[in-house]
């Protein structure tokens, strides 16, 4: 198995602030890898180090086989980057932007034209070729930014919150594009996001919390391991409900008046529990767990208490 990205004991300090500490990552080639965590968890710092823009304080980092500190140019040649802020020249047209960016990678004019045609087609932007970037909508601009990021056919694509600031329709569009792109080019993708439902299509996800890795695995496996169902209860007297349920389902995660319990077993008798709780609760809801739940439970286990973030 060849590794696209490998970090050992990676750490980064800004003054006294430890942004990330002893991070070990191994991302095999071709994988769709999700780096997940709230703002300030170190996702962006990690991406900046992997893409050679900032230097790590400790540890070694290999990207596409090159050390990011010793040979940043070789790394940059093999990676594509799409950041939260778009890397486009607003004063130039869509086509001119791709030509400019392609030339920075040493591609020749005709090759860029050919690839841009395909990408703009794929991203529904072929009608906007001559439009100035400043006139594009947020969703179109993001799509163009991704086209720019893959124009030189990088082996690894970094996507730092690619759907941030977009509405739900545009977010779905961007995801459709990403899927098509993976089918066409088959590259390794490292994604950061805090919309956890978006990370469910990843081959592997890693959870970061305050610069530390707190869990890793395939999304479906992680979700299955968490439990068969999640029980959501709203109650005026949460202590009373906890006293009744805890012996059967273990400690809950509490968010205000809401309580979340894991139901580990699909055969658990929900009806009987509902009868016992009669009169103590306002609402009772059983649903499938998702990646959000995985993150919340991992986080609450670390906080030691029963409150989620």
């Amino acid at each position: 198995m060849t590794l696209a990205i490998q970090t050992q004991n990676l750490g980064k300090k800004y003054g006294n602030l430890q942004a990330i500490s002893s991070l070990h990552l191994e991302i095999p080639e071709g994988q769709f890898f999700g780096l997940i965590g709230p703002n300030g968890s170190g996702k962006t710092t990690t991406i900046h180090i992997l893409s050679t823009l900032i230097r790590p304080t400790t540890g070694t980092v290999l990207v596409a086989g090159h050390n990011v500190v010793d040979d940043p140019v070789a790394v940059r040649r093999k990676i594509g980057l799409v950041f939260q802020e778009s890397a486009l020249d607003r004063t130039l047209t869509v086509e001119e932007n791709l030509q400019f960016s392609g030339a920075l990678y040493g591609l020749d004019h005709r090759l860029i034209a050919e690839r841009s045609r395909k990408l703009l087609d794929l991203f529904d932007l072929d009608g906007k070729r001559k439009a100035k970037v400043a006139t594009l909508s947020g969703g179109m601009r993001r799509a163009l930014d991704i086209a720019r990021g893959v124009l030189h056919q990088p082996r690894i694509l970094f996507l730092d919150e690619p759907t941030i600031g977009l509405d739900i329709i545009n977010r779905r569009r961007i995801w459709r594009f990403m899927k098509q792109l993976r089918q066409e080019l088959g590259m390794t993708i490292l994604l950061t996001t805090h919309y956890l439902e978006e990370a469910e299509s990843c081959d592997q996800v890693t959870f970061l919390r305050k610069g530390e890795l707190i869990g890793q695995g395939r999304p479906d496996v992680l979700i299955r391991e968490l439990g068969a169902f999640i029980l959501e209860i709203e109650s005026d007297e949460p202590e009373e409900s906890i006293r009744l349920i805890q012996p059967q389902l273990g400690s809950p995660v509490q968010e205000g008046e809401k309580l979340f319990f894991r139901i580990p077993d699909a055969t658990f008798s929900i009806g009987r529990l509902q009868d016992e709780l009669q009169g103590h609760i306002q609402s009772f809801n059983v649903r499938k767990p998702d990646l959000n739940d995985v993150y919340i439970w991992k986080n609450s286990a670390l906080e030691g208490g029963n409150t989620a973030c």
Partner: protein, 268 residues
Amino acid sequence: MLKALWAIIQRELMRLIRQRGRLLSAMVRPLIWLLVIGSGFGTMMSQYGTDDYQQFLVPGLLCMVLLFGAMLSSLSLVYDKESGVMRMLIIAPFPHYWIILARTISATIAGLFQTILLIVILFALGFLRLPIDIPLFLLGLVVTSIVCASAGTLIAVFSKTLENFAVIMNFVIFPVFFLSGALYPLKNLPTFLKIVTLINPFSYGVDLLKHALLLDMPKSFSAEFSIFQDLLCMVSFCIVALIIACLRFSQATVMENLANLLSTPKHE
């Protein structure tokens, strides 16, 4: 890397041609000096025995176009720092100091492009009088343009914003122009001002063009330094300025700031 350089130059020229106003004012500014100030002072000077003040102004005004053209172009690096272009450049596969060199080269060419336009206009209007030492003239234009571009780059890598553009105009561009021998000979200046003009690298560019253009001027209005001295001062300035700019730009903290610009969403 050459393709990248060419793309950066192309973009600079394209922007220059699209910003008609910038190009027009770059042409009109020196002509106003030449026609208004030149004839005004010229009349006054003719009482003292020189009636060639306008001719004397030509090298200085060509340098002025280089100064505005090249320096403003390289100063726009400050704006680029906050724009998408810089993001494209810092993730591109070449060393980061190359961004500094490429921007300086493209600014040099932007300055030369505007000067060549002015030369054509001056020639058509009959202000560019023969004989001209053409090789020296071309060398002088190129080297002076590099000086102006490097100076702009040096300022740009050290400034965070150029919000107050008037400050740069008042404290950099105008003093550099006025204290350069472009408008009057330097030799009779008071000592303090004379020292400033000797430190000002732009003075040597003006002087070099005087060597090339003012071949049959009276002694008191012709070049004041030797060609060798002019070239030595300018080339050393460029080398030092660019080394400082490259070192500064490659510093980790500068890169961290730039990297942070990539990831602070504004939610448009």
